[in-house]
């Protein structure tokens, strides 16, 4: 097996749409969230989600918006031009070129989290590709405070990719395997992703199993995220969004430290940003119609 070319960072990309959907007569709006690692698109018809897509952002980031929307629309019969209002949210130096309006992803995440997890959400933890955000909001998803970290990779998707790569574990298995230990090891001495290779290889040489090293990392990262959450305060209920919300190794350890469980959703927690954007799009389209009269 050629270890060099194995892509440990791969996670399942997908698109979905309602079977036999008929949206003639219904207003179609869309939300597009282009992130540093992944991009999502959510299509609403009459306020209800009828299609979505979740894929890697890739190198040609300005084109990502078009690709993810195109993939979401595939098989629906809806064309980009049919969408009445698009709200986009970007990162770094990328924006959604065909968006009618750009709204900050902070507002979109909170709004989307309410839809995914219910009105009782008051704190949203977003563990994204390249940053960590803790957002405080009310029952409507209106933001009252937030704190973010964009300087440190620990606890972000990119940080996880480095760990997965060093240990040769597919990223989708990192969490599950980190829980396959008899006793919780102490956390790694530094969460700094720059030193991860040295640290991890050292532990493996001492005889630690891969699972034990993963556990030590997940524990350190969960503690780091917890410290961030304490800075702004956690009010129940808590919702976790972003790719790492799917990592049980981090989530379970956070639960232990917090002393309670975050809310769960049946839908894809990574869609929060795009979903919030799509919901805003619906409201903005209605307002525009009223103004035009």
């Amino acid at each position: 097996m050629d270890e060099e070319s194995k892509e440990y960072w791969r996670w399942p990309e997908y698109n979905w749409h309602e079977e036999n959907g008929d949206w003639t007569g219904r207003t179609v709006t869309a939300g597009v969230d282009v992130g540093s690692v992944s991009s999502q698109a959510v299509i609403l018809a009459g306020g209800k989600m009828v299609a979505c897509a979740n894929m890697r952002t890739g190198h040609n980031s300005p084109e990502s918006a078009r690709r993810v929307v195109g993939w979401a629309l595939e098989g629906t019969g809806i064309k980009l031009e049919d969408i009445r209002y698009v709200v986009g949210t970007g990162y770094g130096r990328v924006k959604v070129p065909f968006a009618h309006r750009a709204i900050t992803e902070i507002a979109c995440h909170a709004r989307g989290a309410i839809d995914l997890y219910g009105e009782r959400v008051r704190t949203v933890l977003d563990m994204g590709g390249q940053d960590l955000k803790v957002i405080r909001c009310d029952q409507r998803g209106k933001v009252s405070n937030f704190i973010m970290n964009e300087k440190c990779a620990a606890g972000t998707g990119r940080g996880m990719e480095v760990i997965a790569d060093i240990l040769g574990v597919p990223i989708v298995e990192v969490g599950r395997r980190s829980l396959q230990i008899d006793e919780e090891p102490p956390p790694v001495s530094t969460v700094c992703v720059l030193f991860a290779k040295t640290e991890a290889l050292g532990l493996l040489r001492e005889g630690w199993s891969t699972e034990k090293v993963l556990a030590a990392y997940c524990r350190a990262m969960a503690e780091r995220v917890f410290t961030l959450m304490q800075e702004i305060g956690v009010e129940k209920e808590l919702a976790i969004t972003g790719g790492i919300s799917k990592n049980p190794g981090i989530v379970k350890r956070l639960e232990r430290t917090l002393g309670f469980e975050p809310l769960k959703t049946e839908k894809d927690s990574q869609l929060a940003g795009a979903l919030g954007a799509a919901l805003f799009a619906g409201v903005l389209y209605e307002k525009q119609k009223v103004q035009e009269k």
Partner: protein, 367 residues
């Protein structure tokens, strides 16, 4: 009414006002740390025999020297040989005052360095400060050297942004001197810069003499209570001192609690207004068509909306149509990582106002 000129502009004043008062009411910002809106100047306050920090008493070394002030409010007045301190200089008819010059800027930086040298200021100098959540330091600066809990809301920090720091500033490590003796507020004297605002407002607003200061052997200012406890010193817990403190030395323990009647009488602190342009077509046409972040301000120069874009001119022209009745001023900065910068500005705003800017989903109509 009498008139004088500040930076060439004619302004009117009433007898008894200081130059700083006159400037503030005319919308001209003069940096100040020991002075504050809503109270007389702290400059000139005399030390007392003894102060307490908890049970520990401190005795004065030099009894007869009045507080000289922070030195930041210096201005130049035509006809006067040296700059004077505007907080305690009365305005006079026909005065020609200048609030900015290379000499004044240098004098302010010198005064600020003397204050920052004895106050943990590490984050102010860090190039990675924007976007840092300040729980983990990537440059390994010890916590005692970093900025305290009030970072983002701190008046001293805002003043430092305006005045600027000159080179040669030594780092400083604070060792906590926390006094937590009542349910409403705590004091950490390791963060105190000796501005005497608390002492002054206690006297002028509450009519009490709860706080005072003595000098230490280096001539530094030590603030504390007049008796071993707040209660014994006559404290009525109005918390006006907490309201006026420009650093993290005074901290509310109960957030969201209704403020006392006296505390609500303290007017807001005065800050420099953002440098901005009028939001009209002529100005907007001169904006470059490049990546950056713009800020739209309302007629009171309060932030309405922050936006990151890959084309400043196009976006601003679009905003002119959409927000023409809400926006009166704007400013912009070139910045390739415009979304990141947009979020940083939004975060600063949220920290200070408890909500997103109105134009960035800060209103109720989108929910």
């Amino acid at each position: 009414m009498a008139g004088l000129r500040i930076n060439g502009r004619k302004v009117y004043f009433s007898h008894g006002q200081t130059i700083l008062d006159v400037a503030a009411s005319s919308g001209i910002y003069i940096p100040h740390l020991c002075a504050r809106a809503g109270m007389p100047p702290a400059r000139g306050t005399r030390p007392v025999d003894r102060i307490y920090r908890g049970e520990t008493g401190f005795v004065t070394e030099v009894l007869d020297k009045a507080f000289e002030g922070c030195g930041l409010c210096v201005v130049e007045v035509e006809g006067m040989p040296v700059p004077i301190l505007s907080c305690s200089s009365p305005a006079r008819e026909e005065m020609q005052v200048y609030t900015d010059s290379p000499k004044i800027r240098e004098a302010r930086r010198e005064s600020l360095v003397r204050i920052l040298e004895r106050h943990p200021h590490g984050c102010l100098l860090c190039p990675e400060a924007a976007g840092c959540d300040r729980t983990l330091c990537s440059i390994n600066m010890p916590e005692e050297e970093r900025c305290c809990w009030k970072s983002g809301l701190c008046e001293l920090q805002r003043l430092t942004d305006f005045v600027g720091i000159r080179g040669g500033l030594h780092s400083f490590r604070a060792s906590r001197q926390l006094i937590d003796d009542n349910p409403l507020f705590q004091r950490d004297y390791s963060l105190c810069i000796g501005c005497l605002r608390c002492v002054t407002v206690c006297r002028s607003l509450a009519g009490k003499e709860v706080l005072g200061f003595v000098y230490d052997e280096d001539g530094g200012i030590l603030v504390g209570t007049r008796a071993p406890s707040l209660k014994e010193s006559g404290c009525i817990f109005c918390l006006a001192c907490v309201e006026v403190c420009p650093t993290g030395a005074m901290k509310d323990k109960k957030r969201g609690e209704k403020r006392s009647t006296l505390r609500r009488k303290v007017p807001p602190a005065v800050f420099p207004s953002l440098e901005c342009l009028e939001f009209n077509m002529e100005n907007l046409k001169g904006v470059p068509a490049c990546e950056g972040v713009y800020q739209l301000l309302d007629p009171k120069k309060e932030l309405f909306l922050v936006g990151g874009t890959d084309d400043l001119r196009a976006s601003l022209l679009d905003c002119q149509e959409r927000y023409r009745d809400k926006v009166a001023f704007y400013t912009f900065e070139r910045e390739p990582m415009f979304t990141t910068r947009e979020r940083q500005i939004i975060q600063e705003h949220v920290k200070q106002h408890g909500r997103l800017p109105l134009g960035n989903c800060g209103t109720d109509d989108l929910y």
